[in-house]
Structure formats: structure tokens, C-alpha cells
Symmetry: C2
Subunit: 452 residues, 2 copies
């Protein structure tokens, strides 16, 4: 794989160096748009990038630009003639165009919209109005639909005439006179059917569709479950208004996985690329949870402050603070991660909720017993005091039980009350576990060491 | 969505209760296999489950069983006649059968293999020999290939005769006399081509394929990048031996995302289902990292022990320990998560490594300056001591800089030396940051408070 990439880059750079338009054109024609986009972003000078772009016909240019960041695309398009921009935009699929325009400023958006043909501009604008993370936001309006009252041979004829893009014809959707989705038939079923058969007689009548306002994550789950290549999108009155293809679903799955990871680490992911590229975005996205942690840390400090008589008397108690909160935090994160992922994949549902929390609590008690014994022994050896060993060991047990229980219960409760568990859980749980753990520690120490 | 599921379960349960075979059969025929599988796993008694299964024809039964856990399937199949098992197994696609058998004990595997037709048993056995997480492990051998020296009309004829499963014909692969992959053509291109055109003249000659030993994660990245519906698999001599379809790629992406999440939390994911279901697996998978954390916690304790003179003198220093290590850990996790994800998605590569680490360091310094000032102020207000404020604030700054730098550098270094950064990073980084942070704290306190 790697060699292939380097090979492409080398060849294209060499052709660029000698400005060999003929061979460059030929070579690019046989190269996948995704590869051209990658090479384009690795070429150093703007002049070379523009020269490369100029060698692509408008259809290929549209495909290549579609792989790049919206702002980079806007930059590229600013430099070339309006006629050429208009040609390229016409070749873009409406959903790609809407995604691209959606990320530009109002001014730029207006300017580019004017370069579309009137009807297309309207379609693209309509697509931009859907929420980004709903079915409407990821669907395309370029699907193939046939009426239910024609014959198979007529349908094939319609397809030949109207389906411009070979790759999108996985399923052919069937609509009635009111434009409502009533059936589906695969291209192959259509081909092997009796030419005179009516579509309404040979189509599959049970079509699984999604509502235009459905969350993109739910759509992804549906497509994963049924192994669909595409799913039709309908409005509230069952009118067919678009389709979502599996390649967009893969993007959603990647996006959501990154989001989940980032949220667990307490740094929300705006756009994946953005977060990586921009310093200020990185700062802004991480600050909120750091402030939560700060507040939690100060509360922990307050707990210890109230505990200062005991700490003054037995300073050894301080030695175990990092250990106790480290272990509690770790167990809490493990439990919450497994739980959040279980909720996301659908393995944790109403019927397994109680089982999940119970299992996590048991895991916490078991791990706490093992770890508590180890720590108690260490504390005894270090300090020569059974009492300190007992305090530290019991705190470890109580702490890990609390951490595991909270780690699984909090995401479930959040989900129940309608808050996204991935967003809110991680730093909140860790911080709370810290504070609760220290309160347990202070209480046990006060009781068992008999200090007062 | 939810209502639909409940509706299915209710109807099927009612039909089961009255043993209405006729309507049950009819109803199931119109239900998606994935839905039937879900209902099956929610039915309480074994007898009802078997009764339900008995109503499915063998093709549908194969599709339904394919959605369930291998062990559950083995249980089901144990109860029914060998003839029927043989019929169902014959309907399974080879890769599904291989996946299913691969999870059984040697004994059970042998027993089931005998129920396949001879040739099929061989094919399935061959598939089982590939590593589970390679292209070979996820490919299917049921693809459609045509020779390059026939005409388009002959090719369509061949397809009509040999392609039994409508859904797998996204692309038609073209092979030469030696069975080597030489081209690809879409079904639609074939249909609109001149019937007398030679396949070798109308096929696309640049086919992107994967080697049978390629890692499944790399295959997923390739399919995501090029928006493929399927990718052909070849051996070292370019012989076409299978294809991987996009639905299996989606499974891989889910699997890898879960793995990454779990690893970050220090609990390796065996099988997703297993970890959720089994108590002992949960224990075993989490213990290793807890032991690492334990060791780290004890080392932190040792640092504080060496620091006990200062702690004895100024017990207030202990109050800030949870805060300092909490913030350091948080920043470290944020940096390492962004870095690990960047490595996984390919955004961090040789050309952006230095930039990434520098950016993270800068983020650490900036966040550290803000947080350090806040904490210094708080410490001053709490303790009325400028010195303590200065120690705590400076430690925070140094700590967050170290955490952010380590958080990004460690995964990159691990990747360089060939260790999976997702597996090894998280608890290791957090633990190291704790210890380093406390050493910084102790050192700064010793110097600035002028104790000794």
C-alpha cells in the first residue's frame, strides 16, 4: 500500500516538474480520485496544485475536490475561472455540494450557489437545510425511482435513460402516484424478471426506510444490522425524498467512533481534521472538561483540608492518596467504557441493564478484594502499622466497588434521562470517584485510627 | 424503530402461543433475518425457539443463524435432525460457515464439517486456515468472475447461470487463463455495453485488490477511502481467491473501534459479546492494567514518602495532590487519545509527527498557564501563602506540559518501534505522568519553600 502511494506521488511530481501535460492528463485519468486528492494535498506549491487541477476534466475534478476539506476546496476554486467552477460544481453530487457549501461562510456560500444552474441551486439549498447529523443531512437526492404501474422492460428502459451514475443503482425504489415509497427491486431481479411483468407484482413490498429527521447514528445502526448498500429516506408522509449509501454510513461510523473516543477523554471532537490541525480548536475543546476536573480537584483538596488533623498526626496517610484515586479512576473508566460502548452497540438495553450494573459491581468487589489485600500488605510492610494497612486496604475495596458501580450506573442513568452518556460521563465519573474515594478514606481513617 | 421491534416480538410470541404454523411461516417469510434473529434471542423457552426455527426454510434458517453467536447456533443445531442441519449448512455462505465453525471446539467442528458436501467442506476448511484478522479471514469465496476473452452478451449469460445470490453481484471480476485478476466491470456497464464487445476491451484494467494476508484494518481503510462495495482478494501470484464485501468491512470498523476504546481504558476486548457477558473475562481483561496502575501508585507513594519531611512541615501540600495528578492525567489522556486516533486514521504520519508533538506541547503550556494561575490563586486564598501558591501553580504548569508532550510522544514512539500504541499507551502514560508530576511537585516545593 505504502509503496503504491509513494509511487503515485513520485510520478506525478516528475510530470509536474517538466510540465508534461499530455502524460499527466493520461496518468491522472487512470488514477482513483481519492489518490489524486491525497497527492494534491502533499504537493508543496500552490502553482503546482493548480496546474494539476487544470489537467482534470470537470467530472474528475469534482470527485477529487469532494475528498478534500471544504476550505481548501474554496481556496482552489477562488483561483480559477467562473465557467470552470460552474462546470465542476455541476458535476458534484448534490449532497457533496451541500456538505461543501455548508462549511463555508454565508458570503462564500452565496457566491458559489450563484454558479449552479437554477434548479440545482435550489436542490442543494434544500439539502443544506437538514440538520447535519440526521438522515436528511447525509442523504443524496440522486436516486433512482420508478413508478409501480409500468412493466419490467419499460423500467429497464427508464433506468438506461435516467440513471447517469452507474454506481448508485444498487436498488431501484418503487413509488406510487403520490410519490410515496411502496416497494423495492434489485437491478438483477429486474433483469431476470419477465419483461411484461408489472413492477407492482414483482417488487418486494416490505421496504425498510428511515425518516428524514432520524439521527445519523440510528441510521448507521440500521444499515449495519441489515447489511444494506443503501437505505431510502422518506418524509413524514412516506414520500421518497432521498437515499443514504453505505459509503456515507462508513463515514458516520468513523465519525461517531472518533467522537466516542474523544468524549471519553474529555475533548469533544469538532471535525476530526480540525481538531488535529488547529491549535485553538484543541484548546477550546479540552478546556471545559479540564475546568470540571479542576473543580473536582479543588473539592478533593477541601476534603483533605477537613482531614488535616489526621494527616498531621499520621502523614503516612498522604502517601496512599495517589494510589487510591489512581486505582478508583482506572476501574471507573473501565466500567464506564464497557457500559458506554454497550449502550452504543445496543448490547445494553432495558432487559440487560440490571444485569450489567450487578456484574460491574461484582467485578469491582472482586478486583477490590484482590487489590485491597495487596495494598494492605504493602502499607503494613512500609509503615509497620496494621491499622494503616487496614484503613488503606478497606478504602481500596470500598473505592473500587463504588467506582465500578458508578462507572456502569451513571451512563445508564444519563441515557435514561436523555443525556448522551459518551459526552457527559468520563471526566464527571472520574472526578466524582476521586471525591467519594477521599471521603471514604477520611472516614475510615478517622474511625479506625481512633484519632480525634 | 423501537415500536417495530416490539411489534415483531409480540406478533411472533402470539403465533407461538397458539402454535399457528401456517401464519407463523407466512409472517417469518416476510421478516428480515436480522429481525428474526433478534426475536429468537428474546424468546424464553428452548422449545419455543426450536419451534420457531422449524418454521423457517433452510435458506432463511441459515441467514438467521448467521446473525447469532456461534455457541448458540451449535446449541440449536444439536437439537435437530442431521439431514436438516446439513440442508441449513449448505445454504450458509462459506465465510459465514467458516466463522461459525472457527469458534467451536475441535470435536464439534469435525462433527459439523462431516455434514457438508465434500467439496464445500474443503472450501470451508480452507477459509478457516486464514488468520482471523486478515483479508483471508473475512473474505468470501462466493464471488462472480468471468474470463476476459468472452463477449458482453456471453458474460451476461454466464452471470444468469452462475450467480445464485443477487446481492453479491456489485462488480464482476475478470480473470485471465491463469485465474489471475486482470480487470473489473460493473453489472450496469455490462448491460449497457455493445453485446458483441470483448470483455477485455470494455473492462476497467486498473483493479485495486488486497493480498490475502493483509491486515483487516488496512483493508477497511482501503474500502473506506475508495468507497468500494467490495474488494477482490488475491494471493501472492495475483490469483483471484475471494472478495470482501462492505458489510463485513462495517463489522471490522465496529470491532476495531471497540478495541481502541477498550484499550484506552485498559481493558482489552476479547470478543465484544464475551466481555459483556462473562464475569471472568471481565476480571481477567482488566487485571493487567490495574496491576500496572497499582505499581505506579506504589511508586507515587514512595515519592511522597521521600517527601515526608516537607509534608510534615507543610501538611497543606497534601491537599493539592489529587488536583495536580487529576489534571495531569486528564491532559495526558486527551493528548494520547487524539494522537492514537490520528495514527489509526492515518492523519498522523511521518510528515506530521513533529508538528503533532509540538502542537500538543504548546497546548500543554497554554492550558498549564491558565490552570496554573487559577490554582495558584486558589492556593493563595486558601492557605494565605504566596509560596504555596507559587509551588502549586508552577507544578501545574510543568505537569501539564510534561503530560501533553508525553501523551503525544509516547504513542508515536511506540508505533515507531512496532508496538500497538492503543494497547500500551493509556494506563502506562497516566501512571508515568502521576509519578513525574509528584517528583516535580516535591522538587519545586523543596526548592521554593526553602525547607532543609
Amino acid at each position: 500500500m505504502k509503496e503504491r502511494k509513494n509511487y503515485l506521488l513520485t510520478v506525478i511530481k516528475e510530470l509536474l516538474a517538466v510540465k508534461d501535460e499530455k502524460h499527466l492528463k493520461q496518468f491522472l485519468k487512470d488514477t482513483h480520485p481519492a489518490d489524486i486528492a491525497e497527492v494534491l494535498s502533499q504537493i508543496e506549491t500552490k502553482a503546482d496544485q493548480q496546474f494539476l487541477l487544470a489537467q482534470l476534466d470537470s467530472q474528475l475534478a469534482a470527485l477529487v475536490l469532494n475528498e478534500l476539506d471544504a476550505e481548501l476546496v474554496a481556496e482552489f476554486l477562488q483561483e480559477i475561472s467562473e465557467d470552470r467552477v460552474s462546470e465542476i460544481l455541476d458535476e458534484m453530487s448534490f449532497d457533496d455540494a451541500a456538505d461543501f457549501l455548508g462549511e463555508l461562510s454565508e458570503n462564500e456560500k452565496e457566491k458559489f450557489l450563484e454558479l449552479f444552474e437554477d434548479q440545482d441551486a435550489e436542490d442543494v439549498q434544500e439539502l443544506m437545510e437538514y440538520e447535519e447529523d440526521t438522515a436528511g443531512g447525509i442523504m443524496t437526492t440522486e436516486y433512482v425511482a420508478i413508478p409501480d404501474n409500468i412493466t419490467a422492460s419499460k423500467a429497464i428502459e427508464v433506468l438506461r435513460e435516467t440513471a447517469p451514475d452507474a454506481e448508485t443503482v444498487y436498488y431501484v425504489y418503487v413509488i406510487n402516484m403520490k410519490n410515496q415509497l411502496v416497494g423495492v427491486i434489485s437491478l438483477r431481479e429486474l433483469i431476470i424478471a419477465n419483461p411484461n411483468a408489472l413492477i407492482s407484482d414483482i417488487m418486494r413490498k416490505k421496504v425498510i426506510s428511515v425518516n428524514v429527521n432520524e439521527d445519523q447514528e440510528d441510521v448507521a445502526r440500521l444499515v449495519s444490522k441489515y447489511d444494506f448498500l443503501a437505505v431510502p429516506v422518506v418524509d413524514d408522509s412516506q414520500h421518497l425524498i432521498g437515499i443514504i449509501t453505505v459509503d456515507d454510513i462508513i463515514d458516520v461510523i468513523h465519525e461517531e467512533a472518533t467522537e466516542d473516543l474523544y468524549r471519553l477523554a474529555g475533548t469533544y471532537a469538532a471535525e476530526e481534521d480540525e481538531t488535529l490541525a488547529r491549535f485553538t480548536t484543541a484548546l477550546k475543546s479540552r478546556l471545559p472538561w479540564l475546568l470540571v476536573t479542576l473543580l473536582g480537584g479543588l473539592m478533593s483538596g477541601q476534603v483533605l483540608k477537613n482531614f488535616s488533623d489526621q494527616l498531621n498526626a499520621v502523614v503516612a496517610l498522604a502517601f496512599f492518596i495517589p494510589l487510591l484515586i489512581g486505582m478508583g479512576g482506572n476501574v471507573g473508566t473501565q466500567s464506564s467504557t464497557v457500559t458506554i460502548r454497550g449502550i452504543a452497540t445496543g448490547q445494553i438495553n432495558t432487559s440487560t441493564v440490571v444485569k450489567t450494573i450487578l456484574r460491574e459491581s461484582m467485578v469491582g468487589i472482586s478486583l477490590g478484594t484482590v487489590m485491597g489485600s495487596l495494598v494492605a500488605l504493602t502499607a503494613f510492610i512500609w509503615q509497620g502499622s496494621m491499622k494503616i494497612g487496614l484503613v488503606v486496604g478497606l478504602t481500596m475495596l470500598a473505592n473500587m466497588f463504588t467506582a465500578a458501580t458508578m462507572g456502569s450506573a451513571v451512563p445508564i442513568i444519563l441515557k435514561r434521562i436523555g443525556v448522551d452518556p459518551a459526552t457527559a460521563s468520563a471526566p464527571f465519573i472520574t472526578t466524582t470517584i476521586d471525591i467519594v474515594g477521599l471521603i471514604i478514606y477520611a472516614t475510615l481513617a478517622t474511625i479506625l485510627l481512633g484519632i480525634f
